[in-house]
Symmetry: C2
Subunit: 140 residues, 2 copies
DNA sequence: TTGACTGCAAAGCGTTTGCAGAGAG
DNA sequence: CTCTCTGCAAACGCTTTGCAGTCAA
Protein backbone atom coordinates (compact mmCIF):
# COMPACT_ATOMS: atom_id res chain seq x y z
CA UNK A 1 0.00 0.00 0.00
CA UNK A 2 1.57 3.24 -1.15
CA UNK A 3 1.03 5.98 1.38
CA UNK A 4 -0.09 8.71 -1.01
CA UNK A 5 -2.63 6.33 -2.49
CA UNK A 6 -4.02 5.58 0.88
CA UNK A 7 -4.26 9.22 1.91
CA UNK A 8 -5.93 9.94 -1.41
CA UNK A 9 -8.45 7.13 -1.07
CA UNK A 10 -9.35 8.40 2.39
CA UNK A 11 -9.98 11.84 0.95
CA UNK A 12 -12.06 10.50 -1.87
CA UNK A 13 -14.19 8.36 0.38
CA UNK A 14 -14.83 11.30 2.68
CA UNK A 15 -15.62 13.65 -0.19
CA UNK A 16 -17.99 11.07 -1.61
CA UNK A 17 -19.89 11.21 1.67
CA UNK A 18 -20.05 14.99 1.49
CA UNK A 19 -17.46 15.45 4.22
CA UNK A 20 -15.17 18.42 3.89
CA UNK A 21 -11.43 18.05 3.73
CA UNK A 22 -10.16 20.71 6.06
CA UNK A 23 -6.51 21.52 6.67
CA UNK A 24 -6.72 19.59 9.94
CA UNK A 25 -8.28 16.53 8.38
CA UNK A 26 -5.86 16.48 5.48
CA UNK A 27 -2.99 16.45 7.97
CA UNK A 28 -4.55 13.64 9.97
CA UNK A 29 -5.30 11.58 6.87
CA UNK A 30 -1.67 11.89 5.80
CA UNK A 31 -0.51 10.75 9.21
CA UNK A 32 -2.95 7.86 9.36
CA UNK A 33 -2.01 6.79 5.86
CA UNK A 34 1.60 6.72 6.91
CA UNK A 35 0.92 4.58 9.96
CA UNK A 36 2.22 1.06 10.27
CA UNK A 37 1.86 0.80 14.02
CA UNK A 38 -1.23 1.17 16.21
CA UNK A 39 -1.29 4.72 17.55
CA UNK A 40 -3.90 6.04 19.97
CA UNK A 41 -5.60 9.42 19.73
CA UNK A 42 -2.98 11.15 21.85
CA UNK A 43 -0.14 9.75 19.74
CA UNK A 44 -1.87 10.91 16.56
CA UNK A 45 -2.39 14.31 18.08
CA UNK A 46 1.29 14.47 19.01
CA UNK A 47 2.32 13.46 15.47
CA UNK A 48 0.03 16.06 13.95
CA UNK A 49 1.40 18.70 16.26
CA UNK A 50 4.97 17.66 15.47
CA UNK A 51 4.13 17.93 11.77
CA UNK A 52 3.15 21.54 12.34
CA UNK A 53 -0.57 20.98 11.84
CA UNK A 54 -2.51 22.86 14.47
CA UNK A 55 -5.08 20.23 15.36
CA UNK A 56 -6.95 19.91 18.61
CA UNK A 57 -7.46 16.59 20.35
CA UNK A 58 -11.22 17.01 19.93
CA UNK A 59 -10.79 17.17 16.17
CA UNK A 60 -8.57 14.10 16.25
CA UNK A 61 -11.35 12.18 17.97
CA UNK A 62 -13.99 13.55 15.62
CA UNK A 63 -11.97 12.65 12.54
CA UNK A 64 -11.23 9.16 13.84
CA UNK A 65 -14.93 8.61 14.52
CA UNK A 66 -15.75 9.74 10.99
CA UNK A 67 -13.15 7.49 9.39
CA UNK A 68 -14.33 4.57 11.43
CA UNK A 69 -17.94 5.20 10.47
CA UNK A 70 -16.82 5.17 6.83
CA UNK A 71 -15.04 1.87 7.41
CA UNK A 72 -11.65 3.33 6.52
CA UNK A 73 -9.95 2.60 9.81
CA UNK A 74 -10.51 0.15 12.64
CA UNK A 75 -10.50 0.91 16.31
CA UNK A 76 -8.79 -1.69 18.49
CA UNK A 77 -9.01 -1.67 22.25
CA UNK A 78 -6.45 -3.64 24.20
CA UNK A 79 -6.85 -4.37 27.89
CA UNK A 80 -6.04 -1.41 30.08
CA UNK A 81 -5.10 1.14 27.47
CA UNK A 82 -6.72 3.84 25.36
CA UNK A 83 -8.16 2.86 21.97
CA UNK A 84 -5.74 2.49 19.08
CA UNK A 85 -6.38 2.80 15.37
CA UNK A 86 -5.21 1.04 12.22
CA UNK A 87 -5.92 1.35 8.50
CA UNK A 88 -8.79 -0.91 7.41
CA UNK A 89 -7.39 -1.75 3.98
CA UNK A 90 -5.38 -4.75 5.12
CA UNK A 91 -6.30 -8.37 5.25
CA UNK A 92 -8.24 -9.19 8.38
CA UNK A 93 -5.96 -10.12 11.25
CA UNK A 94 -5.86 -10.49 15.01
CA UNK A 95 -3.37 -9.15 17.53
CA UNK A 96 -0.71 -10.50 19.80
CA UNK A 97 0.47 -8.08 22.47
CA UNK A 98 3.82 -8.53 24.19
CA UNK A 99 2.90 -7.49 27.72
CA UNK A 100 6.53 -6.75 28.58
CA UNK A 101 7.47 -4.53 25.65
CA UNK A 102 4.03 -3.39 24.55
CA UNK A 103 4.87 -4.52 21.02
CA UNK A 104 1.89 -5.50 18.88
CA UNK A 105 2.19 -8.31 16.34
CA UNK A 106 -0.51 -9.01 13.81
CA UNK A 107 -1.38 -12.54 12.83
CA UNK A 108 -3.96 -14.39 10.82
CA UNK A 109 -5.03 -18.01 10.98
CA UNK A 110 -7.54 -19.40 8.57
CA UNK A 111 -8.37 -22.38 10.74
CA UNK A 112 -9.19 -20.26 13.76
CA UNK A 113 -11.47 -18.11 11.63
CA UNK A 114 -13.25 -21.21 10.30
CA UNK A 115 -13.61 -22.75 13.74
CA UNK A 116 -15.16 -19.57 15.09
CA UNK A 117 -17.71 -19.52 12.28
CA UNK A 118 -18.50 -23.19 12.88
CA UNK A 119 -19.01 -22.70 16.59
CA UNK A 120 -21.33 -19.78 15.99
CA UNK A 121 -23.25 -21.65 13.29
CA UNK A 122 -23.68 -24.70 15.52
CA UNK A 123 -25.42 -22.48 18.03
CA UNK A 124 -27.55 -20.81 15.39
CA UNK A 125 -25.58 -17.60 15.03
CA UNK A 126 -23.62 -15.77 12.42
CA UNK A 127 -20.57 -13.73 13.38
CA UNK A 128 -20.77 -10.00 12.75
CA UNK A 129 -17.33 -9.25 14.13
CA UNK A 130 -14.96 -10.77 16.58
CA UNK A 131 -12.05 -9.89 18.75
CA UNK A 132 -9.09 -12.14 19.39
CA UNK A 133 -6.11 -10.94 21.34
CA UNK A 134 -3.20 -12.91 22.72
CA UNK A 135 -1.35 -11.33 25.62
CA UNK A 136 2.07 -12.92 25.43
CA UNK A 137 5.62 -12.95 26.72
CA UNK A 138 8.83 -13.83 24.84
CA UNK A 139 9.94 -17.38 25.49
CA UNK A 140 13.35 -17.64 27.18
CA UNK B 1 -21.16 -25.68 41.97
CA UNK B 2 -23.35 -25.28 45.03
CA UNK B 3 -23.85 -21.63 45.87
CA UNK B 4 -23.19 -21.85 49.59
CA UNK B 5 -19.95 -23.70 48.88
CA UNK B 6 -18.84 -21.00 46.55
CA UNK B 7 -19.69 -18.19 48.94
CA UNK B 8 -17.87 -20.07 51.67
CA UNK B 9 -14.77 -20.67 49.57
CA UNK B 10 -14.67 -16.97 48.73
CA UNK B 11 -14.77 -16.15 52.42
CA UNK B 12 -12.09 -18.64 53.27
CA UNK B 13 -9.78 -17.43 50.55
CA UNK B 14 -10.19 -13.84 51.70
CA UNK B 15 -9.68 -14.71 55.36
CA UNK B 16 -6.58 -16.67 54.46
CA UNK B 17 -5.20 -13.47 52.94
CA UNK B 18 -6.00 -11.55 56.09
CA UNK B 19 -8.92 -9.73 54.53
CA UNK B 20 -11.86 -8.98 56.80
CA UNK B 21 -15.32 -10.24 56.05
CA UNK B 22 -17.53 -7.27 56.68
CA UNK B 23 -21.28 -7.24 56.44
CA UNK B 24 -20.98 -5.56 53.05
CA UNK B 25 -18.50 -8.07 51.70
CA UNK B 26 -20.47 -11.04 52.98
CA UNK B 27 -23.50 -9.75 51.11
CA UNK B 28 -21.53 -9.24 47.91
CA UNK B 29 -19.92 -12.66 48.14
CA UNK B 30 -23.33 -14.25 48.48
CA UNK B 31 -24.57 -12.39 45.44
CA UNK B 32 -21.51 -13.21 43.37
CA UNK B 33 -21.71 -16.86 44.39
CA UNK B 34 -25.30 -16.92 43.21
CA UNK B 35 -24.44 -15.42 39.84
CA UNK B 36 -24.83 -17.35 36.64
CA UNK B 37 -24.90 -14.37 34.33
CA UNK B 38 -22.29 -11.64 33.82
CA UNK B 39 -23.29 -8.64 35.92
CA UNK B 40 -21.43 -5.35 35.96
CA UNK B 41 -20.63 -3.31 39.07
CA UNK B 42 -23.86 -1.32 38.88
CA UNK B 43 -25.96 -4.47 38.56
CA UNK B 44 -24.21 -6.01 41.56
CA UNK B 45 -24.76 -2.82 43.51
CA UNK B 46 -28.43 -2.90 42.59
CA UNK B 47 -28.73 -6.54 43.64
CA UNK B 48 -27.01 -5.84 46.94
CA UNK B 49 -29.29 -2.90 47.55
CA UNK B 50 -32.35 -4.97 46.66
CA UNK B 51 -31.16 -7.61 49.13
CA UNK B 52 -31.19 -4.98 51.84
CA UNK B 53 -27.44 -4.77 52.22
CA UNK B 54 -26.38 -1.17 52.50
CA UNK B 55 -23.38 -1.22 50.22
CA UNK B 56 -21.88 1.70 48.37
CA UNK B 57 -20.75 1.46 44.77
CA UNK B 58 -17.21 2.27 45.90
CA UNK B 59 -17.21 -0.81 48.11
CA UNK B 60 -18.56 -2.92 45.28
CA UNK B 61 -15.61 -1.87 43.14
CA UNK B 62 -13.14 -2.39 45.95
CA UNK B 63 -14.47 -5.86 46.70
CA UNK B 64 -14.46 -6.85 43.04
CA UNK B 65 -10.86 -5.68 42.74
CA UNK B 66 -9.91 -7.73 45.78
CA UNK B 67 -11.65 -10.86 44.51
CA UNK B 68 -10.01 -10.48 41.15
CA UNK B 69 -6.59 -10.02 42.74
CA UNK B 70 -7.22 -13.26 44.63
CA UNK B 71 -8.15 -14.97 41.40
CA UNK B 72 -11.67 -15.77 42.59
CA UNK B 73 -13.50 -13.91 39.87
CA UNK B 74 -12.69 -12.77 36.35
CA UNK B 75 -13.34 -9.40 34.85
CA UNK B 76 -14.58 -9.44 31.25
CA UNK B 77 -14.85 -6.34 29.13
CA UNK B 78 -17.05 -6.41 26.06
CA UNK B 79 -16.96 -3.72 23.43
CA UNK B 80 -18.78 -0.57 24.45
CA UNK B 81 -19.98 -1.56 27.88
CA UNK B 82 -18.84 -1.45 31.51
CA UNK B 83 -16.79 -4.36 32.83
CA UNK B 84 -18.65 -7.50 33.86
CA UNK B 85 -17.65 -10.17 36.34
CA UNK B 86 -17.94 -13.95 36.54
CA UNK B 87 -16.86 -16.62 39.03
CA UNK B 88 -13.41 -18.00 38.25
CA UNK B 89 -14.12 -21.58 39.31
CA UNK B 90 -15.37 -22.72 35.94
CA UNK B 91 -13.56 -24.30 33.06
CA UNK B 92 -11.90 -21.71 30.88
CA UNK B 93 -14.21 -20.46 28.17
CA UNK B 94 -14.71 -17.64 25.71
CA UNK B 95 -17.77 -15.53 25.01
CA UNK B 96 -20.28 -15.06 22.25
CA UNK B 97 -22.37 -11.90 22.52
CA UNK B 98 -25.70 -11.60 20.72
CA UNK B 99 -25.56 -7.97 19.67
CA UNK B 100 -29.32 -7.79 19.29
CA UNK B 101 -30.39 -9.21 22.63
CA UNK B 102 -27.24 -8.64 24.65
CA UNK B 103 -27.30 -12.30 25.64
CA UNK B 104 -23.91 -13.81 26.46
CA UNK B 105 -23.16 -17.42 25.60
CA UNK B 106 -20.06 -19.18 26.86
CA UNK B 107 -18.19 -21.61 24.68
CA UNK B 108 -14.99 -23.56 24.68
CA UNK B 109 -13.05 -25.07 21.81
CA UNK B 110 -9.96 -27.11 22.42
CA UNK B 111 -8.69 -26.72 18.86
CA UNK B 112 -8.86 -22.94 18.97
CA UNK B 113 -6.93 -22.95 22.24
CA UNK B 114 -4.27 -25.21 20.73
CA UNK B 115 -3.99 -23.15 17.57
CA UNK B 116 -3.49 -19.99 19.57
CA UNK B 117 -0.70 -21.57 21.56
CA UNK B 118 0.91 -22.84 18.35
CA UNK B 119 0.77 -19.45 16.70
CA UNK B 120 2.33 -17.80 19.72
CA UNK B 121 5.02 -20.49 20.00
CA UNK B 122 5.90 -20.20 16.30
CA UNK B 123 6.66 -16.55 16.90
CA UNK B 124 8.64 -17.25 20.05
CA UNK B 125 5.99 -16.33 22.59
CA UNK B 126 3.99 -17.98 25.30
CA UNK B 127 0.42 -16.90 26.00
CA UNK B 128 -0.24 -15.37 29.41
CA UNK B 129 -3.91 -14.73 28.77
CA UNK B 130 -6.12 -14.17 25.82
CA UNK B 131 -9.43 -12.70 24.90
CA UNK B 132 -11.77 -14.13 22.30
CA UNK B 133 -15.21 -12.68 21.76
CA UNK B 134 -17.67 -13.35 18.97
CA UNK B 135 -20.22 -10.62 18.34
CA UNK B 136 -23.06 -12.48 16.70
CA UNK B 137 -26.62 -12.36 15.44
CA UNK B 138 -29.22 -15.15 15.39
CA UNK B 139 -29.48 -16.79 12.00
CA UNK B 140 -32.90 -16.45 10.35
C1' DT C 1 -22.65 32.60 1.04
C1' DT C 2 -23.63 29.01 4.14
C1' DG C 3 -23.56 24.96 6.43
C1' DA C 4 -20.07 21.91 8.06
C1' DC C 5 -16.12 22.44 10.69
C1' DT C 6 -12.92 23.89 14.53
C1' DG C 7 -11.05 24.94 19.30
C1' DC C 8 -12.15 25.47 23.78
C1' DA C 9 -13.75 24.21 27.91
C1' DA C 10 -17.07 21.77 30.18
C1' DA C 11 -19.46 17.47 30.75
C1' DG C 12 -19.77 12.52 30.39
C1' DC C 13 -18.89 7.82 31.82
C1' DG C 14 -17.05 4.14 34.39
C1' DT C 15 -13.82 3.64 37.82
C1' DT C 16 -10.53 4.91 41.57
C1' DT C 17 -9.08 7.33 45.71
C1' DG C 18 -8.28 10.55 50.04
C1' DC C 19 -10.31 11.25 54.07
C1' DA C 20 -12.48 10.85 58.54
C1' DG C 21 -15.33 7.96 60.97
C1' DA C 22 -17.07 2.91 61.79
C1' DG C 23 -16.47 -1.83 62.97
C1' DA C 24 -14.12 -6.67 62.51
C1' DG C 25 -10.96 -9.44 64.83
C1' DC D 1 -7.76 -1.82 70.99
C1' DT D 2 -6.08 -1.68 66.61
C1' DC D 3 -6.01 -1.54 61.96
C1' DT D 4 -8.76 -2.42 58.03
C1' DC D 5 -12.79 -1.14 56.25
C1' DT D 6 -16.63 1.95 54.72
C1' DG D 7 -19.27 5.94 52.63
C1' DC D 8 -18.89 10.12 50.68
C1' DA D 9 -17.50 13.11 47.42
C1' DA D 10 -14.00 14.53 44.72
C1' DA D 11 -10.64 13.14 41.17
C1' DC D 12 -9.41 10.21 37.53
C1' DG D 13 -8.43 9.07 32.35
C1' DC D 14 -10.36 8.78 28.13
C1' DT D 15 -13.73 10.44 25.23
C1' DT D 16 -17.68 13.25 23.78
C1' DT D 17 -20.18 17.50 23.25
C1' DG D 18 -22.36 22.54 23.31
C1' DC D 19 -21.15 26.69 21.80
C1' DA D 20 -19.66 30.59 19.11
C1' DG D 21 -16.68 31.66 15.76
C1' DT D 22 -14.12 29.92 11.19
C1' DC D 23 -13.56 28.24 6.67
C1' DA D 24 -14.20 24.79 2.60
C1' DA D 25 -16.93 24.42 -1.28
Amino acid sequence: MIIEDRAQSYEEALRRSGIRITRQRAALLRILADTDDHPDATALHARATAAGAGVSLATVYRTLAELEAQGLIHKVEFVGEPARYEPADQRHHDHMIDVETGQVVEFFNERIEKLQAEIAAEMGYEILRHRLELYVRKLP
